[in-house]
Symmetry: C2
Subunit: 405 residues, 2 copies
């Protein structure tokens, strides 16, 4: 009996996961992918519908010539949602994201002056209020995920180091929980790790098991996926690729070393090459997009990018490298230099050549990745998580909430 | 009924895995770790004993004061064994390895001149005959694992490239299967990958989930473990760390690039620094061990080692770095230089500092790793694998087998 309850709970989780990944599915495809019989799937879908997480749609009536019985469609709803927070040097974005990775609302603003933590948290609170405004009163906030351009202590909700925000040992999760009034603390993570996860699940990396997501914001970071799973390292700090000694060893890095890759392909180096003012580093991607043609100095940046990518390929043998942030616009100008350097430096084995792609989720990879980590609690225990989740009507105090008309 | 059969098979596999990992266990510890009741464990152990894979030992009688009932001990036997083959530039080693990773016999010899593939396979055949000579007639050869200092095509049994053996697209698995007369082809793998696996399971990396095994033979390779699982990359080629652009960009590498890490910390660079003759590169480890003190030139090799290790730490955040081959003896002389360079180049976060250790299995890591991949077929299906496995008495043709007296 106890085993049957466990099995049913396990099947419910699996079904919600399938739905979340696909957004919409037919009952017959769920029957096939879960290896259960049709009546069990119908029962489970009924349960998910009762929870408010999905709705069923009868198929359009077809002509008599159509073979077989058309299957019932199952689509996720916006009843349960997460808040995804993307903290960048240039600005803050908060999104309300529903099951299936559906972005229901977003709000953004420039970062507060000096990245003051208190002001940042207050600003995120304002943006959060803005994105839940149109949510149904009885919808449920099931998690908060936050992406940070820095090193986040695993499970601790502490930013250990975010050099470009000048944050050091900042208990951001607790500060945000207090500001948002949520009882379960937000899940913090590195922005490149989140970008990699999102591209794996919903972007350029679907059907790929080994990928590197390179993120160029002001610094350079990487999210690594090996064998379909994130590479975290012992403390969750893996991917600090900007500080690999890929450079020629002459330029000093803000980390204290010389010759870090970031000194060659970081925003400062690129701004230098393209004549972008040094106080506009966070906009170097936009600056690259607005160029009429590549200045000659950019070729050496391209070679340095290719040099490091060849090293990554030799070490990790990825199938796909996704270029996030300004690295995408950069690559468009220097693809030939990158490819030439990679060819010269990678081992001469055809199966080692990876695909290089732009993010399938454009500039939302990191935001979607933050939503994915926020959804984990619901996916692990749909019934328990929904029961404990605050309803939209109760968020941020009733007084602050505008009347729903 | 079918489910019960499947469950029993699953439990049998799990029990054999536990035994293989531990070598010897008590029935009561199996009861605890497998979460099954005592009579089920007693039945399963009885089945494993009938298969010949383990024997049970009644505990020594204790005095009346001993609390509780002493548990029955379960120990692996040498009835099922694998052949582990370690192909190096300097020599060949073949071992007969039993369950529990017990090395039952080894035989070795220098590599044939020019690493001729045909001669190499014949030599391995001779060594294999030598190590099975003392095996019981009815014992079973359940697999062959082979470590190669090169890049091995996944599942194909083809050596794509072994630069220091000058092998290129060599169908070694088939050649060995023909020579050994085994119907199932040997499992080939990269030597550093095998070293990493062995250190994870039985060496310095037990209770560690993120480790890098660095192998210094003539070239430099790495085996990566992340989250407890090997990082293979899309084609199984991950870990070609000798060709990361960690060098200062001046020395040409045999791979065609300049500035590969191998040009700075490879055997040729070390031989140069310590005055080892260039035709004795395969013995550079022995040469390092015989030094009375470190020549001053070795300090810069140490700094280059530290520079690359810092890069690895920033990218992968490993808990443990194991220094295999000549890198162990090298590290003993240059530890201070390595540590200083790592401190200067790693991010200044205490949780990022890994432990650096010598291989727990000394010079047998790679050999034991080869045995682990060879045992997989038995661990996946003990009954089926044993039924199909050739008996020692039937190996290599009866005529070639010396009489057992």
């Amino acid at each position: 009996m106890r085993n049957q309850v466990n099995m049913r709970r396990h099947n419910l989780c699996t079904l919600v996961r399938h739905l979340h990944l696909a957004g919409a599915l037919s009952r017959s495809s769920l029957t096939m992918s879960m290896g259960l019989n049709r009546s069990t799937i119908a029962d489970l879908v009924g349960e998910v519908e009762l929870l408010g997480l999905a709705r069923q749609q009868l198929p359009e009536p077809r002509g008599h010539s159509a073979a077989g019985r058309p299957s019932v469609g199952v689509t996720t709803t916006d009843h349960a949602y997460v808040l995804a927070v993307d903290i960048r040097v240039s600005g803050l974005t908060v999104a309300r994201v529903g099951l299936g990775g559906v972005v229901l609302a977003t709000a953004g603003r420039p970062s507060p002056p000096g990245h003051d933590p208190r002001d940042t948290v207050d600003a995120i609170g304002d943006l959060a209020r803005a994105v839940v405004r149109a949510a149904p009163e009885d919808s449920a906030l099931v998690g908060v995920g936050v992406s940070v351009p820095g090193i986040v202590a695993r499970d601790g909700g502490i930013i250990r180091l975010a050099p470009n925000l000048e944050w050091h040992d900042l208990a951001l999760a607790q500060m945000l929980a207090d500001a948002l009034g949520t009882s379960t603390p937000p899940v913090l993570g590195n922005e490149a790790d989140h970008g990699a996860l999102a591209e794996l699940l919903r972007g350029a990396g679907r059907r790929v098991s080994d990928l590197v997501y390179l993120s160029g914001e002001v610094g350079v970071g990487a999210g690594l996926i090996a064998g379909g799973r994130p590479v975290t390292g012992m403390s969750g700090f893996a991917g600090e690729i900007g500080h690999l000694p890929f450079g020629d060893g002459t330029r000093p890095c803000h980390c204290g070393a010389v010759g870090c890759w970031e000194t060659e392909i970081g925003a400062a180096a690129i701004a230098d090459a393209v004549g972008c003012p040094p106080d506009r580093l966070a906009d170097v991607g936009g600056h690259l997009q607005r160029l009429d043609g590549p200045p000659t100095q950019l070729a050496s940046v391209g070679r340095q990018l290719g040099r490091g990518l060849a090293g990554l390929v030799n070490l990790l043998n990825p199938q796909l490298i996704v270029l996030g942030g300004y690295l995408g616009p950069l690559y468009r100008w220097v693809e030939t230099d990158v490819r030439a350097e990679m060819a010269a430096r990678s081992l001469r084995i055809p199966e080692m050549t990876p695909r290089i792609a732009m993010p399938g989720l454009a500039d939302r990879s990191v935001l979607i990745g933050a939503s994915e980590v926020a959804f984990r609690a619901l996916l692990d225990d749909p019934v328990g998580c929904l029961a404990a989740a605050p309803r939209t009507g109760d968020l941020f105090g009733v007084a602050q909430r505008p009347a729903v008309t």
